[in-house]
Amino acid sequence: MRSRSSSKPEVADRQGTAATERRSGIVWAVVVLALILRGSLAIVFGSAVVENWSTIFISLVLQAFPFLVLGVVVSAAISALVPASLLARIVPKRPSVAVGTAGLAGALLPGCECSSVPVAGRLVDRGVPAAAALTFLLAAPAINPVVMVSTAVAFPGRPEMVAARFAASLLAALVVGAIWSRFASGERLRSRLRAYHEHSHGRAFVSVAVSDFIQAGGFLALGAMLVATIQTLVPRTILSSVGGHGVASVATMAALAVVLSICSEADAFVAAGLTHFSLSSRLTFLVVGPMVDIKLVALQVGTFGRRFAWRFAPLTLAVSIAASVLVGRLVL
């Protein structure tokens, strides 16, 4: 148990030494360096290629920022202020109803993938049927309002993209929940989460929000860099042939979604940037991403164990690809 430091001189003393331990100063050093080199870097490295890459990169990140910030703020508020016990009370106990309810509950709660896994873990700990918790885990990052709005903004004039994303993601979540409920309900799922000390609500909120933003922002930057590279450096002819071909484009988009691990509030803009790929293959990117990616699998291993992840991840991947192709064919 950590006790609060109460004597003032002690705190003051710690603050003196702790100040240098708390930040490395790298951030400000990097920014100052960038400002100093401004202009001269452009002369040396500037070229049409570099400029094109940079503009696409920055544009995608900036466009996604408002949605990312909104999603992170709401998700942090929920995780800091709404206890899992409340959520557990809402979800009914009967498996079939629970799965459906959990799926639709996902539509209400904005949550980055990083928060849905711990929430699902806590739901399981409080007696919610595993299948329902897992359905929620899959649905919440994929169909919440922030994600839907960001998809609408990313594909202006194409509301069918929003509808398709919603339908395919919900379908995939429900199917996985149903399959799990049918074939794996016998085993008990337990999370490996330890109870952590609840700080004050305000402090918990700020801490979670900052952490989530940093991590999600990092993956967003990574994804935006990749799109900028693809759109700037890969010859157009190659892109058009891969992007146009059915199986190749779907497979590429699914692979990209798994590798990129972009937060679902922001991935629509990355998908919008991949203009050489068909709409339906980009739908696959949007449906697979929030459900299966490297970051998620790592989280799932940490929360539910390796054995679980071994079965859950491939199942989810297959179902989400199938759902997106099916819905894509019908709607897009």
């Binding site: 950590r2 430091s5 002690e10 003051a12 603050q15 702790a18 331990e21 708390r22 490395s24 790298i26 951030v27 400000w28 990097v30 920014v31 960038a34 400002l35 401004r38 870097l41 452009a42 290629v49 570099v50 400029e51 094109n52 940079s54 503009t55 696409i56 990169f57 544009s59 995608l60 900036l62 466009q63 408002p66 990312l68 910030v69 909104l70 703020v73 903004v153 990313a154 202006p156 000390h197 700080h199 801490s207 979670v208 900052v210 952490s211 989530d212 933003f213 940093i214 991590q215 922002g217 990092g218 993956f219 930057a221 990574l222 700037t232 157009r236 058009s240 803009f269 919008a272 203009t275």
Partner: protein
């Protein structure tokens, strides 16, 4: 990553968002309508970062990492900041036009005749957006109108196919990340022009060639051309 670094990154990200949102730099990357949202996001980030830094300072001891383990990918948030500050890249230009996927013509709901009438009241030559001119390639009535009525177009030069200059301008979907071009082949331009030179051309639609090669660009017979400054708003949008 230390707690203090995280707060710093969030503050810097917020400040840079505000910087772009409050200046003309916004128009290079995003639709103008995004301005209030980017301002809000930037303000929230700065507030959050400052709060985190203050809370961090107030606690004398290191707080237990409460949420999840911070991973090193978070440092990448600095990447767009560094790139933006160091390179200050401009709006997309001829390079993007070359790289774009071909064959995208915007379907627009546009009353060309009314527009031409309204904008030629005082004997001026009406100006059209490139995407509107390009759309004329596929609309029979528009084609006839534009064969006879001279119009002005503003765009930048791009050499897409051989030595002949094309006039181009990019249209945004959601942001510069998905920009796609409208192009017009220019006929009757004698002097050599560099890529990415912004010009205003006056001319009519070439009656002979409405579809040329695979790019489907219309051809304009140019009667006048002058160089202009890059407009504050370099991209085009549907009206």
């Amino acid at each position: 990553m230390k707690d203090g670094d995280r707060a710093d990154i969030v503050i810097i990200a917020g400040m840079c968002s505000l910087l772009v949102a409050l200046t003309d730099a916004l128009f290079r990357y995003l639709r103008p309508g995004m301005r209030p949202f980017l301002i809000a996001a930037g303000a929230v980030l700065v507030a959050l970062g400052v709060a985190a830094a203050l809370l961090d300072r107030r606690s004398g001891e290191k707080e237990a990492s409460s949420h999840h383990r911070p991973s090193r990918v978070g440092w990448l948030v600095l990447a767009p900041i560094v790139v933006g500050l160091a390179f200050d890249p401009g709006a997309l230009g001829s390079y993007a036009v070359m790289q774009a996927s071909s064959g995208q013509i915007t379907e627009i709901d546009f009353d060309l005749e009314a527009h031409l009438e309204t904008h030629s009241l005082h004997g001026q030559i009406p100006q059209l957006q490139l995407l509107e001119f390009a759309w004329a390639t596929y609309d029979r009535e528009a084609q006839e109108l534009l064969r006879d009525t001279p119009v002005r177009l503003v765009g930048f030069i791009a050499h897409i196919d051989g030595d002949e200059p094309f006039l181009a301008r990019l249209q945004m979907g959601c942001c510069a990340g998905d920009a796609f071009p409208s192009t017009v082949r220019l006929e009757g331009v004698e002097r050599p022009l560099d890529d990415d030179t912004w010009v205003e051309v006056t001319g009519t639609l070439d009656p002979r060639a409405t579809r040329l090669n695979d790019d489907g660009s219309p051809v304009m017979v140019v009667t006048a051309l002058r160089e202009v400054k890059e407009p504050k708003q370099p991209y085009e949008f549907l009206r």
